[in-house]
Each structure stands twice: as structure tokens, then as C-alpha cells.
Amino acid sequence: MTYVLNRLLSLILTLFLISLITFAVTNILPGDVAMMIMGTQSNPEALAGLRQSLGLNDPLLVQYGHWIGGMLTGDWGNSLIFKKPIAELLGQKMMASALIVVMSMTFALAAAVPLGVWAAVHRDKWQDTTASATSLLGVSLPDFFWGIVMILVFARWLGWLPSSGYKDPAVDLLGALRHALLPSLALGLGLMAHLTRMTRSTMTGILGQEFIRVARAKGLSEGTVVWRYGLANAVGPVITVAGLQIGYLFGSIIVMESLFNFTGMGWLTYQALLNRDVPLIQATVFVIAAVVMIVNLIVDLLYLVIDPRIRLG
């Protein structure tokens, strides 16, 4: 329990650091928020007044204080380009992104774990070569390229799935899944390749351990030895690596959501960056980093449940 408490305290410290870094990076932006709101043709006096009221003339530390104070009290300000409260925007978009992140992770794990175990069992044989060639190909193409290929094949040529857009799952579940399928598959491919290699190397290590030999010496079947004794030990490491890939995924969705016009966090971040919507950039960057951190924490706590050595140690 103290471990969980410690991790939570540590998370708060990290979130604070994340906010500092976010604020520091975005405040080097040469763009002028006031000018963006009022346009370049606006009256210099009105501009100066707005700057004053927005607190842009204050020292950076004071500005940071205002910003973090607002974040803590739920006042995240308004987006300049969408003219809407940022908190509201983020809530919707996060839901959309969660859908494709979860779907792509599910695809990736479902394919990578069996493939990786299979490769580890048949190490240095043709099965291993096949698996490693597949995963090498997977990591060797930019995932947006896979996205383009999928749009061509499944949307344009075969016409099975829509090539762009987003549907709210609460309104139209099937439509939402159909729209999320292609971007999730494209994201999942690169992820799968990475997780396959990880599973293979983890399982190779485990299969070389003494307790595997002991299990064989007990006369257990190879199936039991590999899929129960072996895999039970690989679950923890594989989940940890999968958790770390959440960061990679939240980077990739920026490209993928833009490609598929899928209006989630990635798409929103891209719009903010493209239009120099400073309050929105700050909020999205902060939220993405915070989500990555929190997911990693959840994975670590999950590990507690899985691995008895940490659970009681």
C-alpha cells in the first residue's frame, strides 16, 4: 500500500515537472496570442489592452502561475481557433483517441504474443526467420504509409470501409468502429512488429531458464511448458513494454488522425500546432504527457497484481 501511495506522490511531482516543461517549450513560441485573437489588422492600442488583460506582459513565472492555477481549478481557457472552452474540446477528442489507441493495442497484442512465442520456441529455424522478417518489415515503414495503402485498398478499391471521418460511439457504435478500424490497423502494424520482437526476446530468455528445464524434467508436455510455465512469466514484461508503447502511440496518432481526418487528440494537437493556438498547444501537450504517465503508472500497478515477487516484496 505504501508503494501505491509513493507512486501516486511521485506522479504528482512528475506532473508538475511536465507542466513546467510544457510551459517552457511553448513560451519560446515567437507567435503573439493577442495578435492571433484580434488579427493582424487590429488596432495597436486594443492589442496592447488585450495583452494586458491576458497577462502577457507579466513575468513568465507569474504567467505560469496563472496558467497552472487555471488548470488546477478547471479553467483551461478557450481555444483560439475553435473559439470553445478547451476542457470541453479535450474531453470529446480524448474519447475518440482512446478508441483507436485501445483498438490498435488489442490488434497488436493479439498478433504479437502468439507470433513472438512461436518464434522463440523455434529459435533460429524458419519459423523464427519468418516472424522476424515480418516484424522487420512492420517497423521499417512509416505507419502513415501503411495508412495510405489501407485507404487505397480497403476504401478506394474495395470500398469496404470509410477512408476518413469520425463517428461518436455513443450515437452510432457500428459507424464508430468502422471509422476507427483502418487507423487502428495501421497503427497496430508497427506496434505489433515491435511487440513481436519483444515477446520473442523475453520468451527466449525465459525458455533458457532453469525452471523450464525443471518443468520438462517433471514430464510436463511441451505445450504446458511453453504456454503455461513460460508465458506466465512473459506476461509482466510484455505488458510493461506495451504500456511504454502508449507514448509511441500518442505520437503516431498525430499523423494517423490527420491522415484519416479522425478528429481525436492527435488531430486536435496538429490543428493547434499548425495554427499556433498557444493555449490549446499547452493543454494538449500537457494532457498527452500526463496520460502517458498515468497509463504507465497503471501498468506498473497491474504488474503488482501479476507478479507475486513484487506483490509481496
Binding site: 512528475t14 517549450v25 522487420l136 521499417s140 512509416p142 502513415f144 504509409f145 498525430i254 499556433r276 501537450v285
Partner: protein, 271 residues
Amino acid sequence: MRKFLTPKGLIGLVLVALIALVGILAPVLLDPALATKMYMTARLQPPSAAHLLGTDQLGRDLAVRVLMGARTSLEIAVVAVVISVLLGLPLGMISGYAGGGVDNVLMRLVDTLLAFPALLLALTISAVLGPNIQNTTIAIGVAFTPYLARIIRGEALRVAQMPYVEAARAAGTTNLAMLGRHILPNILPVVIVQATISLAFAILAEAGLSFLGLGTQPPAASWGLMIQASRDYLEKAPWTGLVPGAAVALTVLGLNMFGDVLRDVLDPRSK
């Protein structure tokens, strides 16, 4: 070294050598103006004798562009990785060797930076500095630094606990000599392997940034930019996307294979 004589090792070696050769020689042997020369009558032409790999929407020769783009993409990737090594190596090495409070502070910082997805960090930095080749390079280099620092720190920590380091300390070796003589040579294999693999990631990152318009800017030829430009013409002229896509794939594939074999050869832990 026998590991390089396997099919995987040979393919990796040949691909990397070929791409390096193209990156170095293409701008020397070809007139740079050819890359932007438009054949207005020959837009979106499929591969033919006149244009070996076809032409794009502005009638530019794809074969020339993909060769010239190699230089841009490779230059950005190589310099970005050099930046990340120059930043990450001292950071990781000192953190791992010194341990204690120094390590705690540095690694807390690195862990926090790791919460920002590399692509997001690179995009943000590029947007902040203004997208062009130079800033894209810096952005990718900085975004990769925490990953490299983490790996190097782990390796330095492992090496710092080896008995030969303790023996050297007992033999009166100073901290600076220790880092130079014992720590650095022993973490170098891992650094080289990681740099090779980072190179592959940097190529992908450049492609991603350029694809979003926050990397290399037109009319320069870079692979990511070429893929982006092909987006709207893919159905009519799939080669416009397939040519730069294949270039990226072969380069990254080659680097990954080369890195894998290099790891087998160099990394003492894999033996």
C-alpha cells in the same frame, strides 16, 4: 564478424552501403536543378524509359527526386542522431557512473521528458522554432535524447558495478580516466547499436514531420515530403507514393537489419 556473413547480415550491409553511397554521390553526380525541373507535359506519368520511376503531379522526375531526397533525409537523420548522442552520452554516462543524487535528479528529468512522445516533442519544437531543415534536425535530435540517455545510463550503471572498475579504483585511477578508459569503451558497443537503430527511427520521424508539413519544406526533395505530395494522386498514380515509400522502407529495413547484426556482434550481453 561471421555474423555479417548470414543472409540478414549481408542484406543489411549491402543496403546500408548502397544508401550511404547514394546519399553521398547523388548530389555530386546529378545536377540539383534536375530535382525541381518540371516536365509540364509529362505529369503523373507511370515509369517509362524517359522517366525510370515515373513523374509526380508537377511532372518532376521521381527517380531524380528520390535520389536527391536521400541526401536530405539522411543528412537530417545523421545529424539528429549525432546531436542526440552528443547530448545523451555525457548525460547518461555521468548519471550512471556518479549514481546517488546526481543520478536521481538527472533521471527524474529524463523520465519526465520520456512522458512526451518523441514525435509530439519533435513536432512541437519544430513548430516553435519554425519548420525548416535545420530546425527539423534539431527537433528530432532533442526529442531522441532522453531515450538514448536512458539506455546509456543503464549501461554505464552496469559497467560501473563491474569488478574491473572497482579494481581500477583500487589501483588509483581518477574519475576522468575511469570514464575514458573503462566506462566509455565498454558502453560504446551499445551506443553504436543504439545510434544505428535511432538512425532508422530518425528517418521515420523526418518522414512523419515532413508529411505533416512541419519538417522539410517544399520545393526541397525529401522522402516524407514526396509521400505527402502523393496523397491526393495515389489512386491515379500509386507510384508517386510507392517510390518514396519504398526508399524509406529499404533504408529503415537496412538500418534495422544492420543494427540487429551489429548488436549480436558487439553487445556482450547477447553472447
